[in-house]
Amino acid sequence: MSKSYPPMHKKVINVFMLSLTGLAALLVVSVLLFILGYLVWHGARSLNWAFFTQLPVPAGEKGGGMANAIVGSGKLLLLASAIGIPIGLLGGIYLAEFGKGPFSLAVRYTADLLNGVPSIVIGIFVYTLIVLPQHHFSGFAGGVALGIMMIPIALRSTDEFLRAVPNTLREGGLALGASKAQTVVTIIIPAAMQGIVTGIMLNLARVAGETAPLLFTAFGNQFWSSGWNGPTASLPVVIFNYAISPYEDWHRQAWAGGFVLLAGIFVTNIIARVLVSGRHSPARG
């Protein structure tokens, strides 16, 4: 007479909890599918050539597009990358290759601190830093705000990917008479390049959707913004303004804009993640 082990009630609990937690996971995933589906349904339908090429029309009228907002977002991201990526990359190289001791600890802690600051506070900071002295909103201020948000992530990600490169490569370079700087630039960074690029892409995707820091820096613009010195429209801010407005047509355009924004972010994310998990190191168990 064999007794089955574990006892029946334990087996029942096991199956029950498996289902419950599985349900929770399914619930979360279904939210994603719902968001995606709804935006595709509502947003993609409203996409037309005008959306991408025309400027907004006055409030209440139908038609027009978000051309200036899309270009504006592009400009802001360009400036943000020019600020955030070099500082984050070089700082990460310092932490991984040169730094040791309390200064490095301070840098890492500060980066985490800055990363945790709500984006609206960063917006206020850049407002007091740039907008107030200049007495006007500007694309420059908006780019700086987004750039500051990019720095801590770029720093940590570069730091981690560089440290993941095995030390034998560093020693190999040094043993051939290369200086530390040469080893880092010609061996270590290329070895970590995939991870670094992925990190940059994910960073950009995150910052592209930020609205709050732009509310009082780049502000917004119904027309094209020339140069960096004037208020600049951006996709997330326009979506926000249109969504809370009372106009039907603007709601429709908000959906379209939302779809474009989300599509850009998702595509960037998927490409970046597939890059990393795809061509991983030769020894992958």
Binding site: G172, A175, L176, P282
Partner: protein, 280 residues
């Protein structure tokens, strides 16, 4: 009194090798020169002393083997010769090491390492093509014009006995080679900068016997053009290829002598115990 029997018959081992390479014995009157002169060297990892009062003269253009049980400090000693220990924090060296007639510390580390090359235990080619691996040292030190690069790379690969195996795939990743080939690639890479000395840190420990034999042949081939100092835990290997041998134990140099003498008639009881396998 009868002389004690020799522990190993080195004549047989060397005879076989010389038959293949046709290498005559170096003339005994050829004056030996000192490549490294180590005096009263002590080495510390933080508070731990890894090497005690090491005194040694390493000859030029010969193969010197360093043997001893694991943890005895032979790898640590090797790394003092090209100042690689400086990349590790909290390390300290006292005493003097002379490279030729000048103190090691007077050299700039990067220039020193060009002249004293190193090959590590685990074959670690750079994640680049085979060609770029060899060319790395040349490029980084500006040793060679671009148009001469191809010729120099071929020369190094021939010296390392790898040319025939890789001539058709120079642009492929170095990782496409087998472990033994990768290690020979690393040796070729080290040879590219024409070093005076080649330091080998247990280069065959991760390889199969056939690859090991190939590398030993390579070392034998190189020894008259380059000083070779090889750390190995394989005594037979040391017996096969070394001209001189140093035996380390617990951070101290116990005996240093010509290989022929040390393996057959060691002066120190500890050496004899180690060679006959009584410990280690």
């Amino acid at each position: 009194m009868a002389t004690p029997p020799a522990l190993f018959d080195l004549k047989k081992l060397h005879h076989a090798r010389r038959a293949r390479f046709g290498d005559p014995e170096p003339a005994e009157t050829e004056p030996l020169r000192a490549q490294f002169t180590v005096a009263d060297m002590n080495f510390f990892y933080g508070g731990f002393q890894a090497l005690h009062d090491v005194n040694m003269v390493l000859p030029e253009k010969r193969v010197t083997g360093l043997i001893g049980p694991s943890g005895c400090g032979k790898s640590t000693f090797l790394r003092t010769l090209n100042r690689m220990y400086e990349t590790v924090p909290k390390t300290r060296v006292t005493g003097t090491i002379r490279f030729g007639e000048s103190d090691l510390l007077e050299f700039s580390p990067t220039l020193l390492r060009r002249r004293v090359g190193m090959v590590f235990q685990k074959p670690s080619p750079f994640p680049k093509s085979i060609f770029d691996n060899i060319a790395y040292g040349l490029r980084v030190n500006n040793l060679c014009r671009n148009r001469d690069l191809k010729g120099k790379v071929e020369e190094c690969l021939r010296r390392a006995a790898l040319w025939e195996e890789v001539r058709d795939k120079l642009n492929e990743s170095a990782f496409s080679l087998s472990g033994g080939q990768q290690q020979r690639l690393c040796i070729a890479r080290a040879l590219a900068v024409d070093p005076d000395v080649l330091l080998l840190d247990e280069p065959c420990s991760a390889l199969d016997p056939i690859a090991t034999a190939k590398i030993e042949d390579l070392i034998f081939d190189l020894r008259r053009s380059c000083t070779i100092i090889i750390v190995t835990h394989n005594m037979l290997q040391a017996a096969r290829i070394s001209d001189y041998v140093g035996f380390f134990l617990q951070g101290k140099l116990i005996e240093f002598d010509a290989a022929r003498k040390m393996f057959q008639f060691p002066s120190n009881k500890l050496t004899e115990d180690y060679i006959t396998g009584r410990f280690g």
